[in-house]
Each structure stands twice: as C-alpha cells, then as structure tokens.
C-alpha cells in the first residue's frame, strides 16, 4: 500500500491536484479511511437514487405515463448515467462486505480484501457494460431470483448467527444484517435489469414480472432492507457530526418519516401492480 501511495503521488503530481490530495490523505489517514469516506458518499448517493427510483416506478399504475418516462431514459446520456450508477452500487456493496468481514467475521487481512473490492468492482462494471452493449440476454426472473435470494439468504443467516453474541443494539445489528442481504441482492438487481435494458424499460414486461408472488416478496424485501439500511446509515453520519442534540433528534425524525413514506409508496406499488 505504501508503494501504491508513492506511485499515485508521482502520477498525481503530473496530472491533477485532486489526486495529489487523495494521495496525501491516504498517507496521513490510510486507504481504509478513504474507503470509508467513499462508502458514505456512495451510500448517500444511492439513498437519493432509491427515492428517485421509487418515485419513477410509482407511475407504473399508468403504463402509458411510465413508458413515456422510460423513453426519456432511453437517450444515450441517461443510459450512460444508468451505467455509471453501477460504480457506486458495486463499490458500496463490496466495501460493505469488507466492513462486515472485518467487524463481524474478524477478518484482519483487510488490506487484501480492499484490493479485491477494487478488482471485483472493476470486473462487475466491465461485465455490466458488455451486457448493456449486447442488450440481448434473457433469463427467467424467478430462476434468477431464486438462486440470488438463496445465496443472499445464506449470507444473511451466517451474519445473524455471528451477531447473536454481540451486545450491540438491534438497530446496529440490523444495519449489518440488511447490509449482508443487500450485498448480493442490489448488484444482482442492477445486473438483471440490464441483461436486456429494452425489456427492463417496458411497463408491460415489468408489470407481468411483478405479478409473480415470489418476485413481489423479493421486491418487498429489497425495498424494506434498502430503506432501513440507507436511513440508518444517514442517521449514523448525522450522529457523528451534528453537535446539537435537538438537531440530531430532528434528523432522526426526518429520516424516519422519509423512509416510512417511501417504504409505504414502494410497498403499495408492489402490492397493487
């Protein structure tokens, strides 16, 4: 890691002062510190995106309006944005997995895992780009989700088992448990949606898929876990920096109301479609 700092520093001096600042921060605080900041930033971005995602999907009740919205999202610029969303998604998932390994499973080869986060993240992003460019893959939704949910369920179960002996609060444990569940589920969700992007943007296809009870259950779990995980994360960041107890309580109320509001909208949509 020390070598990578000096390489990055030499490179950054040539190219950009921002990279120089990153290299300096890595030197004075370490790479996991930078990874932690990146985790927070990507987490906040993804929470905002989830709100937007639920809002967009809420128009599924009117398929014509939904298709009109999706038509806009079909423009190259939005397709690029959609692809770029893979970066925070996969980084947050893999780095979250790294944190769970460190805190819950007592893995202390953290520097090595951090390299894997970068490597696997790059691989996932490249794979997604290939699928998006090909745009012709097809897989049965229940088949895909049975396998993914089974794997995510196993990871979640192992995490729950490990956390039984921890004296930490239930809220904190649920943050890690929801993280373990989402570790596979969210990247898989993104991958599935882009196996055939045209079909993923078609209201009738989505409605038909969501008519399946198993898919409904999966979607409900996803919405609940994502909103809990995101809102606890945001609340936790506020707890770190907001000095006033009143403002911290205000943040708790605000985050809870927003999460419950979007959970209600999301769950209602899943039940009704």
């Amino acid at each position: 890691m020390a070598d990578s700092v000096s390489v990055l520093r030499r490179w950054s001096l040539k190219f950009h002062p921002l990279l120089d600042a990153v290299a300096h921060l890595a030197k004075i605080r370490g790479w996991p510190y930078l990874a932690a900041w990146a985790h927070r930033i990507t987490g906040a971005m993804l929470l905002l995106y989830v709100f937007l995602h639920i809002y967009t999907l809420s128009s599924l009740s009117d398929p014509a309006r939904f298709d009109a919205k999706m038509k806009i999202l079909g423009f190259a610029f939005f397709v690029l944005l959609e692809f770029l969303l893979a970066l925070p998604v996969i980084y947050h998932a893999l780095n979250g997995g790294r944190i769970i390994l460190y805190e819950v499973f007592e893995n202390r080869r953290d520097q090595l895992v951090l390299k894997w986060v970068i490597g696997l993240g790059g691989l996932y992003t490249a794979m997604l780009a290939v699928f998006m460019l090909a745009g012709n893959q097809s897989v049965s939704a229940p088949f895909f989700w049975i396998y993914t949910a089974a794997a995510a369920g196993c990871l979640t179960y192992v995490t729950v088992t490990r956390l039984r002996r921890s004296g930490a609060s239930l809220f904190w444990k649920l943050q890690r448990i929801s993280g373990a569940f989402l570790f596979l589920m969210v990247p898989a969700h993104m991958l599935f949606m882009h196996l055939n992007p045209a079909m993923g943007h078609d209201a009738q296809v989505i409605i038909a898929r969501m008519g399946n009870l198993f898919i409904k259950l999966i979607d409900m779990l996803l919405v609940t876990a994502v909103l809990y995980h995101g809102s606890y994360g945001l609340y936790s960041i506020g707890q770190d920096y907001i000095r006033s107890a009143g403002a911290r309580a205000g943040l708790l109320v605000g985050v809870t109301v927003a999460a419950l509001g979007f959970a209600w909208a999301g769950l209602k949509l899943i039940v009704q479609v």
Binding site: R29, P32, Y33, Y241
Partner: protein, 235 residues
C-alpha cells in the same frame, strides 16, 4: 553532515487577543533532529513566545502530540530526515490537535481532552477478590497476550484526532481501548457498566472501521482491531 533547510508553518493562537494566525519560521537543521528539537531551536534562536508542550520526549507521555502536515503524531518521535522522506517536502505545517480547545499556539487543554477518557473509568472499577491473604492475582499469560499491545496506549489522542467520526459525539478510540483493556482483564469484575459505556451512543456505534486510528497510532496499536472485537461481541 547532511542538513536541511526547513520551512515550518506554525498555527499560532494568542488567548489574550483571541487571535489566530500562521507564522512561518525558516531554519537549518541536522537530519536526526526531532521536531521537538526544531521547536526548541525556534524558541532559542528566533521566537521565545512560541508555545508548545512536551514532557518525557521519549514517546511515552503523549504531551507533544500535534498535527504535522495533517498527520497526528508525536513531535518527539519524528526525525527531520524521516519527515522529509515521509512527506516528500521540506515545508511542514504544524497544528495543535483539535480534540480539545487550544490554550496557546500548539498547546491544548489536555484536562478537557481527558474528560472523555474519564467517562470510561480507565482503571479497574471492581477488582476480583484477593485469592488469599498476601497473595496477588496471577494473570494468565495466554489471556494477557490477547490484549497486551492495547495496554501500551499512552493517550496521546492521535487516534481521536484522526478518526472519521470526529470527536464531538464519540468518546474516541483511545477511550474505547481503555475500557476494552479492562473488559479483557481477568481482574475486572464490573463488566456490565463497561459494556453499557461501550455500547452507548458515544461508544462503538460511532466507529465505522475506517482504521485511521490504527494507521496513526505512534505505539503501533491496532486500535480498530480491538473496537471491532467489541462490536463482534468478543467480551
């Protein structure tokens, strides 16, 4: 003899005028001088009003901890040649730690910094009963091995300064370490109060495993490892 022409930009504060400023000092120094030697040299040769703290100057008391080019460390342990190699420059910015109010220049109110440590009671609250008249407790070497490195903490507050969670609502990594050491110590009977403190809102929930504490610890303690043990419920 190798010498370096150094530029030291020192963050200064005058409490009488409530004024802060950055003062630049130029000096030539030998390669094995420490930063406390540089500050003393400034006092002797350029500016006797520059205030800074030190006590043992052997990396055992934590009095001289400060931020040098943003990194919290002990000024008595940093040699000029190592600093030049580490930061790749001969210009250094010296700032006081932010964990407590500044008294003057590089000196902080350590009593206030220690308030957070006092909250975790860094001593054995309820010792185990003596095994017999005139007999002392024997600590099992295997058990000691699990936490002996953690006992080397000198409370320099470098970890607290570096922590991602800030130091406003977190007691700090060193305070967590102090209570974890006593939880791992067989002689401590009061586990409940310690766990309550550990799992309080100012406790481990403020740790996000950014591991900056371990990165900057001058004693080489893997502080994050011990806090992670607490989260996993090892005690």
């Amino acid at each position: 003899m190798t010498t370096y022409d150094l530029t030291l930009k020192v963050h200064r504060y005058d409490p009488d005028r409530d004024k802060s400023w950055v003062q630049t000092y130029q000096l030539t120094a030998g390669r094995i001088l420490r930063f406390v030697d540089l500050l003393r040299k400034i006092n002797d040769e350029q500016d006797p009003t520059l205030a800074w703290g030190s006590s043992c100057e052997h990396g055992q008391c934590g009095t001289c901890s400060m931020k040098i080019n943003g990194k919290p460390l002990l000024a008595c342990e940093l040699l000029v040649e190592n600093a030049v190699a580490q930061f790749g420059t001969t210009t250094f910015t010296l700032e006081p730690l932010g964990v407590a109010p500044v008294v003057r220049d590089l000196v902080i109110d350590t009593e206030k910094a220690y308030f957070r440590l006092d909250k975790v009671k860094p001593y054995i609250i309820r010792p185990k009963a003596q095994p017999g008249e005139g007999k002392e407790h024997l600590v099992d070497p295997k058990s000691l091995e699990r936490y002996v490195t953690a006992t080397r903490c000198i409370n320099c507050f470098c970890c607290t300064e570096a922590c991602i969670a800030s130091h406003h609502n977190f007691l700090g990594p060193n305070a967590m370490l102090a209570t974890i050491v006593r939880l791992m110590d067989d002689r401590e009977e009061e586990k409940e109060e310690r766990l309550k403190c550990l799992y309080s809102n100012e406790g481990v929930y403020r740790c996000h495993s950014s591991r900056a504490c371990s990165h900057v610890c001058p004693k080489g303690i893997d502080v994050a490892h011990y806090i992670a043990l607490a989260k996993a419920g090892a005690f």
